[in-house]
């Protein structure tokens, strides 16, 4: 690389008397070294990639019960988030339905879950059409069981964004028939 400027002291074999010129060149290498060292430090100490965030709005806690129209089971996909990253899906059936026991499907996160949501969504759209506002009537009910992790919840909420399911609810209480249906899977 570079080295200390060697001018200035020359002129040994020179017969002529010259006024000595002191070199003004300074070796910059250590300074560059220092500069890059500090840059490296600042790059590493700075938070480079800022994390993103997803907003979650939960319904207002209701002090007085409002009478709402019960949700038709044929529009609902219920997802129970269980342990070891599994989802138990109940597609367009109520938990007390006779067919529920046989229809309860075990799905893995990722493409399988996404396909299932898309299928269910398409089926609901075919059967019920759009509502008066032109929105899909498909509703997804997310029920994280106590054994599920925070990651599971975020993953499912993310699936909602991916599949553009606008109507979803995060419910943590299980009904009696659901408890019965899930049995030991809930633990």
């Amino acid at each position: 690389m570079s080295e200390i400027a060697q001018g200035g002291g020359g002129g040994h074999g020179d017969k002529k008397v010259r006024s000595k010129k002191a070199s003004t060149r300074v070796d910059m290498t250590p300074m560059v070294d220092l500069g890059f060292l500090l840059i490296t430090f600042f790059i590493l100490a700075t938070t480079l990639s800022k994390p993103s965030s997803m907003s979650l709005a939960v319904p207002d806690k209701q002090t007085e019960k409002q009478e709402t129209e019960p949700l038709k089971a044929s529009k609902v996909l219920t997802l129970f988030l269980g342990k070891d990253n599994t989802v138990w899906a109940l597609d367009r059936l109520a938990a007390d339905d006779d067919k529920a026991k046989t229809d309860l499907k075990k799905v893995a996160y990722g493409p399988d879950l996404r396909t299932l949501i898309f299928q269910s969504q398409a089926q609901v759209d075919r059967e019920h059409g759009k509502d008066e506002k032109g929105l899909s009537q498909f509703v997804c009910v997310i029920k994280p069981l106590n054994t599920s992790t925070y990651k599971n919840v975020v993953d499912v909420l993310d699936e909602m964004t991916v599949t553009k399911s606008k109507r979803y609810a995060l419910v943590d209480a299980l009904t009696t028939s659901e408890k019965e249906l899930l049995g030991d899977k809930a633990n």
Partner: protein, 209 residues
């Protein structure tokens, strides 16, 4: 025979330009730097395709650790002091000025109110050992002892512009998250952010808006 000295020709390079560039970059990085805060626990967040960035200012972060311990932190030192002042009044605990100063330097903490003074004192006596002290997490469970709700309330009293973010670990269990949500909902906070890592959306996916 005289030794023939090969003439050394040192290649010279002018470092001035490089030096200029280095210091220019250095200046840039110094000015834009935002230092990583020292967190009470390492939290690995799940990732999502969400593109909303976490705001830098006026933010309250409730962290949920791997083991289900809950940590609490606000971004501004003034807010931290005001929040502690509020807690002192309502809970009847006393702190010395040094302890208050120490508290304002903590990015987040996971110590119950009763143990706070002792923890801060340990930090003053031996700042290097402070990180090694195991923090038990902020109690969130029963309504009477829900200290998280108290902190949230007092922090919002100190700065009512605070936005609320929850930062949970991948393996944190759902019931803890449920408790945190319940603490927020009890105070009519129904909208909050979940801090996640960034992930690429699936191919062909586009946001509606």
């Amino acid at each position: 025979m005289p030794a023939i000295k090969p003439k050394r020709n040192y290649p010279m390079m002018d470092m001035t330009a490089m030096c200029d560039v280095a210091f220019l970059l250095l200046t840039f990085f110094i000015l834009t730097a935002q230092f990583k805060a020292q967190d009470a626990a390492t939290i690995e967040t799940p990732s999502s395709i969400s593109a909303i960035k976490v705001p830098d200012k006026d933010i309250m972060i409730i962290s949920i650790g791997k083991d289900g311990k809950v940590y609490f932190g606000v971004d501004n030192q003034q807010t931290r002091l005001a929040m502690l002042e509020n807690i002192t009044q309502t809970e009847g605990v006393q702190f010395t000025d040094k302890q208050k100063k120490m508290f304002s330097l903590q990015a987040n903490f996971g110590v119950p109110i009763r143990g706070l003074s002792q923890w801060l004192q340990a930090g003053i006596v031996n700042p290097d050992k402070m990180k090694e002290i195991v923090q038990p997490g902020i109690p969130t469970d029963s309504t009477a002892q829900n200290e998280l709700a108290k902190w949230i309330y007092q922090a919002r009293r100190a700065n009512n512009l605070l936005r609320i973010a929850i930062k949970g670990d991948n393996v944190a269990k759902f019931p803890v998250f449920k408790d945190v949500m319940a603490s927020l909902q009890a105070q009519n906070i129904n909208k909050f952010n979940l801090i996640t890592g960034t992930e690429a959306p699936p191919a062909g996916w586009s946001s509606d808006k």
